[in-house]
């Protein structure tokens, strides 16, 4: 038990030092990076590690006779959570959302410290001590609180009332409701029944299994399978069309969606919100190919009225590309991100 706890304590201490160093800037702030596409999982894993670490630290300290009062444990843990949310998570979370997380964690901490009568008494003991002010120290504290709290609250309310400008949050509907059918270059496509005509095996037959077995591998780097090189001169069917789709992508789409399809292209920084990140499991991985076909063909301007807000400069690609080119680009996007499109069944 003790060995386990001391390992946890070391992890916790190292984690805190690293986080503090990265926040203050002693250690480069990208020492431990948030991995793209896995951020939520990573954040939860990190927090779990920290909780384990704190448990270890608290255990070791009480084992060494320096038990840490529950009161301060609760307060410090809450402060840690707030700091973590503010400085660790990037891109930054808006204050309103952080306030929500803060409230929820406050409630959780209260539940923890008041789990049983004894704990609760221990927790409120320091507060009662200050209220009663029996010793010189607590007397001083009581007077200090009496003065500081009204000043702080007055200051906060002044701050809240002074007119200032805050960036309005820009939202975008990620998956607006699609129409039943869409008309592109004079032909009507029913979203439920249309298929990507280039998802074919070398014999030219529609073959989802074949195409899925030739996409890039998931995991760091998302690299192609060594045997499935679209640039192979002999590539036929699916892989050949992937290459053609890639050529179109790198002539038209990467300016915004990025060389690595992560929404960080050359022009991306000028947009708000930034362009869609296809490597995120929440975008194309959740959609059917025909949905993408509709969005690519009609662009931001083709969003239905229910698709508000219209914060999208996505071009209506039917102005620039042929139907075949649009299907090939879609094929490439799924190949390059390693996701399977959703199907209707």
């Amino acid at each position: 038990m003790k060995a386990l706890m001391s390992v946890a304590a070391i992890i916790g201490a190292a984690g805190i030092l690293l986080l503090a160093g990265m926040t203050v800037g002693i250690v480069p702030s990208n020492t431990v990076r948030l991995i793209e596409g896995y951020m939520p999982v990573q954040v939860i894993a990190e927090l779990t590690l920290f909780v384990a670490g704190f448990t270890g630290i608290s255990y070791m300290m009480s084992a060494m006779g320096m038990a840490f009062p529950r009161f301060w444990q609760g307060i410090l843990f809450w402060a840690f959570l707030l700091i973590y949310l503010k400085f660790r998570v990037y891109p930054p979370i808006p204050f309103s959302v952080r306030a929500m997380y803060g409230t929820i964690s406050l409630v959780a901490i209260f539940m923890w410290v008041s789990a049983n009568e004894e704990d609760w008494n221990k927790f409120k003991q320091p507060i009662m001590n200050v209220l009663d002010a029996k010793t010189g120290g607590t007397k001083f504290l009581r007077i200090a609180y009496l003065v500081i709290i009204p000043i702080l609250i007055g200051g906060f309310s002044y701050n809240a009332m002074v007119p200032k400008s805050e960036e309005p949050i820009e939202l975008r509907t990620v998956h607006p409701a699609p129409p039943a059918s869409t008309k592109v270059h004079g032909k009507t496509y029913t979203l439920q029944t249309s298929q990507n005509p280039y998802r074919v095996n070398p014999e030219g037959k529609y073959d989802q299994e074949y195409s899925n077995s030739n996409i890039v591998e998931q995991g760091m780097g998302r690299l192609m399978k060594p045997t499935s090189n679209p640039w192979d001169k002999d590539a036929q069917g699916y892989l050949k069309y992937v290459r053609e789709g890639g050529e179109i992508f790198y002539q038209n789409c990467h300016f915004c969606h990025g060389d690595n399809l992560n929404g960080r292209g050359l022009h991306a920084f000028a947009f708000n919100p930034i362009p869609a990140n296809f490597t995120d499991p929440g975008t194309i991985a959740q959609l059917q190919e025909t949905f993408i076909f509709w969005r690519v063909s009609k662009g931001g301007i083709g969003l239905p009225n229910e698709g508000f807000p219209w914060a999208s400069v996505m071009p209506p690609w039917e102005q620039h590309l042929t139907v075949d080119e649009i299907w090939k680009v879609i094929l490439f996007e799924y190949w390059h991100t390693g996701y399977y499109p959703r199907t209707w069944d």
């Binding site: 990208n30 609250i153 009332m161 960036e167 760091m220 002539q251 060389d259 390059h336």
Partner: protein, 592 residues
């Protein structure tokens, strides 16, 4: 006896000193032998050839990630190449820009050890080349995958030279870690300012370093057009290594030159000290906050962080037409990030204007906007333009994208018909009537129901007001609005435009609210900015465009902001008293 010992000790000491002295001299001699090398450089060894496994694994990375721009044979002619400026690197000749090695030499690359400062190509792939389409691959490819792909590129795609050939290649390495930077004191900056004239930096980079010196006559080794760096945008320095305000990067580039471009190495004709002064001065020119601290850089884009609210400050009396007036110099500025308009034809893949600095003030009747942006050339169209100012669907050719062919962007780059430099801002009309999430479209409004108010300034001195009702609908002129608006100032100087326009604030009573935006205090008014670089062939929809920003007129502080907090604080004091008495009573009760 004692004397003897001290004598011996003395002898010993002398000998020791002698050895140190001799070694010092020999060290000096070794240094003299190195004198053929430029100051600050040392000879290094060629790295061993990467293993066949590494090369094979790298091929897989290359054909997944890199081939799309750099091409099948690494000739920098992949499908994406023609619409990029600067173009992707042609690896075949082994010409690499960012190095620690002397001018003309191959860069440092060792497949085994990515030691900081000793692996140029690894760092290029890791940090990307800001200001170009080359992204940072850190976090996307693992360290090993980056080394693998470089093993493939250096052995298979660099065709005219060989990284391991001792006969033809040498490595003369800049000892950047051993050279101590000179602090950027006022004296150092002054020397640097003199040196950039003496070393003729300003001939290409311009008097104020905005890259406007010899902007349109430079070509790289392959004959493609290339432009001198703008020292005021250090985040776009190719060699900034995602650390743009670090003076060492400038020192390195200045010492080693940029292979394949007209930028030479200054190692032979400048001392190390001189190079630090120049690097300090160039670094000091990069845009900073008003208090001199570096701008905060967004790690996701490697560009300055953007705030989407442009706040306008209140001033007394008439708005000054002089940008040096306190009214303007005291105002905080905001950076507006600009991207190419690639939504509708004609598209602009290589927008030369990538940001605008904005300031705004207002008085009782008018609001004024100051635009400042860098543009290497002042462009004014010769003769009359072939379309009316209100025309939207104008015929500016969208380029044929084949390499080498007449008309590809790469060939055309310096060869466009010159139109007017211009800027415009678009604000929503009837923005108060828009249901909460609705905004007009970015480009020239959505329809008759949600039109936009457009004001456009052009380098021929015109300031026009239009109503826009859709991206492909011709603008409508607005009656007498141009007369009530005013161009306060416009000037192009050393690569930077400064333009101040003033317009009525508008109010519901006196203005035609169907055409003009009513700028109401304390409200967020959706605003979009457009910019055209006339020398880039920008006209009509071929332009740079921003996202939606918000113009916000700062209201004065209300009286309540001084009263309520005091009342609240007093209330808290009462509450505290109540809690304390309650507690005291409880204890008394207990005791009793």
């Amino acid at each position: 006896m004692k004397n003897l010992i001290s004598l011996k000790a003395g002898k010993f000491l002398t000998t020791a000193f002698g050895i140190i002295l001799v070694s010092g001299i020999s060290g000096g001699m070794a240094f003299a032998a190195d004198a053929a090398l430029p100051a600050g450089f040392k000879k290094g060894d060629l790295a061993p050839e990467p293993s066949a496994d590494m090369i094979e694994a790298g091929k897989r990375v290359y054909f997944t990630k890199c081939v799309w721009c750099h091409g099948v044979d690494g000739a920098g002619d992949g499908p994406g190449a023609d619409r990029l400026w600067p173009r992707p690197r042609n690896f075949n000749q082994g010409t690499f820009k960012i190095r620690h090695t002397a001018s003309g030499e191959l860069p440092l690359f060792d497949a085994k050890k990515p030691v900081p400062g000793q692996n140029d190509l690894f760092e290029t792939v890791t940090h990307g080349l800001p200001g170009s389409a080359m992204p940072s691959w850190e976090g996307i490819l693992t360290e090993e995958q980056r080394l693998q792909v470089l093993s493939f590129v250096t052995t298979q795609l660099v065709k005219d030279r060989k990284f391991t050939d001792k006969q033809s290649e040498s490595q003369t390495i800049l000892q950047l870690n051993d050279l101590k930077p000179i602090p950027a004191s006022e004296e150092s900056l002054k020397k640097g300012a003199e040196l950039i004239v003496e070393k003729k930096c300003i001939e290409c980079h311009g008097v104020e370093g905005r890259g406007d010196g010899n902007a349109f006559n430079l070509k790289d080794d392959w004959g493609f057009s290339i432009q001198p760096a703008n020292w005021h945008k250090c985040w776009n320095f190719r060699g900034s290594r995602q650390d743009p305000y670090n003076v060492k990067n400038i020192f390195r580039t200045f010492s080693t030159g940029v292979n394949g471009t007209p930028m030479p190495s200054f190692a032979d004709n400048s001392t190390v000290e001189e190079r630090w002064h120049i690097a300090n001065f160039v670094n000091s020119l990069c845009e900073r906050e008003a208090d001199g601290t570096p701008l905060s850089i967004d790690p996701l884009s490697d560009k300055p962080k953007v705030n989407f609210v442009l706040s306008s400050g209140v001033v007394e009396g008439e708005i000054s037409a002089d940008p040096e007036n306190e009214m303007w110099t005291k105002r905080a500025r905001r950076i507006i990030a600009m991207g190419g308009q690639i939504t509708h034809k004609p598209r602009n893949f290589v927008n030369r204007i990538d940001d605008i600095w904005m300031k705004s003030v207002y008085n009782e009747t008018h609001i004024a906007f100051m635009f400042q942006w860098d543009d290497r050339t002042k462009s004014v169209a010769e003769g009359k333009l072939p379309w009316p100012p209100t025309s939207v669907n104008i015929d500016v050719k969208e380029q044929d994208p084949k390499t080498g062919e007449e008309g590809s962007i790469a060939m055309h780059q310096n060869n466009y018909t010159v139109y007017n430099d211009a800027v415009a801002m678009e604000t929503a009309v009837k923005w108060k009537d828009l249901p909460a999430p609705i905004k007009p479209r970015y480009l020239f409004g959505s329809n008759e129901q949600f039109p936009v108010d457009i004001m456009k300034w052009e380098a021929d001195g015109s300031l026009r007001a239009f109503k826009g009702t859709g991206w492909d609908k011709d603008f409508e002129e607005r009656d007498n609005y141009e007369e009530s608006s005013k161009l306060l100032f416009s000037e192009w100087k050393n690569g930077r435009w400064t333009v101040i326009i003033q317009r009525p604030m508008g109010n519901k009573k006196d203005q035609d609210y169907d055409e003009d935006t009513f700028f109401e205090m304390g409200q967020y008014i959706p605003t979009v900015f457009f910019a055209w670089d006339g020398h880039n062939g920008d006209a009509g929809r071929k332009m740079a465009v921003s996202a939606f920003y918000y113009t916000f007129l700062e209201p004065p502080t209300p009286k309540e902001a001084y009263i309520y907090p005091v009342v609240i604080a007093f209330g808290v004091v009462l509450l505290e008293g109540w809690i304390l008495t309650r507690r005291a009573n409880k204890r008394k009760a207990k005791k009793a």
